[in-house]
Amino acid sequence: MKSLKVAVFLALKSIIRGNIGIIVLTVFMLVLVTMNLLFVPALIRGATESMNTILIQTYSGDIIIEPAGDDTVINHVDDLLDSIESIDGVVAASARNDINAYFEFEDKRIGRVVTGIDPVRDGEVFEISRSLIEGSYLDSRDRGEILLGIQIAGADQEDIELYSSSLRHVHAGDKVVVTYSTGFEKQYTVKGIFDTGFIQTDSQAFVTQLEFNSVMPNMNNKATSIRVKLEDGADPERVIQRIASLRDGLDFQTWEQTAGLVQSMTESFTLINQILNVVNYLVAGITVFIVTYVDVINRRRQIGIQRAIGIKSQSIAISYLIRAVFYAIVGLIIGILVFKYVIIPVEARHPFEFPFGPAYLLTQPSYTARMAFILLVVSLAAAFIPVWRVMRIKILDAIWG
């Protein structure tokens, strides 16, 4: 207890009366390290969250239901949709029918998928209608209209990813010829063009279920898939169990299972983040090591005097460790506060733009706590090495060299 009291006393005096420039510089370095340790994971988390949100809101929904086994369609889909929507936690469900087709405009011909939807129900599950850049969304009674993603239409936007394989110059109101895989050919007026920022969604084309049934009369009251939107916090597994109890022969996937691309990107980002974190912890450790080492060397004589007048080595060593913890804690506090109250608000006003939309910095308290703990341990370990070495020097050598 006496040793600790003396250690705290020595540490406080040296912090208060020590070289303010060195203290400020050390703390500044640790502030930068802290912000760096927070920034990359927050960006990855923000980007992943944005990708997941856009994936759910425009492409997959929360749950995808498909026919199981050799079946290619879900039968009696209208009854099934009503039953699904009556389950607790389900917001809406939409049936979709896909068919391969060729699109022609001017001298350009490309192959894509046309999806038949009920615009009202699909609009309750997805938010594609909010991403229109030209024209308007489909009405349930539309027959000769088609809704195109930007990656099909092109819309003269040469900077989009698939522009060269799009129809390039199609705009709302233009007419495109669609040749279905059944051989049926029809000219459609482009009612609207959407750009969600998610390339898979923007490579889709939609017609009304009414129109789809006229093209594929045998698909009436059938669907190639059903997409389900859940309430926030609803348990997908519980909802899947309830739907499975309604009818056999269905296959279920949650949105995570369809997010292979997003997951592999997230895993790569996480690996990069871990490498950067190791580098950051090393920078923190080396900073504290150098500062402590230089400090200890400069104070070698003072340490010798302290030992000569009876101050225990452990008190002197602990005083240096307290200083290292002080640097780390002040650096952490300032770094976290600056990140939370400056960096995040500024980034929120000027978010990083990714192909799938803006990504906002998202922090995670558990990560921040773990990072702070590791940084403290690294600082302590880095300070301990030079202090331990000096404590092993004889008193006379410490005082007189």
Binding site: V6, F9, Q302, I305, I309, G310, I311, L396, I399
Partner: protein, 226 residues
């Protein structure tokens, strides 16, 4: 009582052996005031460092109040230094970041004896050495003589049985030297503290009651002066 028996300190300089102390033996009674003299390089500071438990001899024994201290562990020697010995260095050796008051009571904090307010005692000791009005000053704000008197006050904080002073006036002017030596004499007479000091100034013999003279690490004189 301090008993030194056949004490030697040998330094190795490559293959050459340097005997800084060579078979030195003597006894100093409690309450004595002894001056160790000798030419530069005679081994007087080396002897004081062995007595003050700052270094270990190569051979021989030091017995303090019946206890052989040369065989103690570093930790035990540190505790003994803290509890019973005071050491005054030639170069003042104050801690720059602490005020005069803090420099004095720091060893007291480490000692931490119940019932003793070391801050108050440090103030009293600074009064005793004539620095009562300088307690909040930092070492750099004090003259050499004042710093040395702070060092003496620090050496007294643990009410030591023995004070070792290594050429305490070496860097001081005549007036300051006189004040420092008179302070040590006063402590010896009034507080019955044994004082063992090293000096190269023959005039300083007048402050001592015993004299040890070293030459080339050997003791050539052990006299009672008065």
């Amino acid at each position: 009582m301090v008993e030194v028996k056949n004490l030697s300190k040998i330094y190795g300089l490559g293959e050459v052996e340097v005997r800084a102390l060579d078979d030195v033996s003597f006894t100093i009674a409690d309450g004595d005031m002894v001056c160790i003299m000798g030419k530069s390089g005679s081994g007087k500071s080396t002897l004081l460092r062995q007595l003050g438990l700052l270094d270990r001899p190569s051979q021989g024994e030091i017995v303090l109040d019946g206890e052989v201290v040369t065989r103690l562990s570093d930790t035990a020697r540190g505790t003994l230094r803290l509890q019973h010995l005071g050491y005054v260095f030639q170069e003042y050796a104050l801690l720059a970041e602490l005020t005069a008051h803090e420099n004095v009571y720091l060893p007291g904090m480490m000692l931490g004896e119940k019932g003793i307010d070391f801050r108050e005692r440090a103030g009293e000791l600074l009064e005793l050495v004539g620095l009562g009005k300088r307690i909040r000053h930092y070492p750099k704000e004090l003259s050499g003589g004042e710093q040395q008197r702070v060092a003496i006050a620090r050496a007294l904080i643990n009410s030591p049985r023995i004070i070792f002073a290594d050429e305490p006036c070496a860097n001081l002017d005549t007036i300051s030297s006189k004040k420092v030596m008179e302070t040590l004499v006063s402590l010896n007479r009034e507080m019955r503290v044994t004082v063992i000091f090293v000096s190269h100034d023959p005039d300083d013999k007048k402050y001592a009651r015993g004299l040890l003279v070293l030459s080339d690490g050997k003791m050539v004189t052990e006299d009672a002066i008065k």
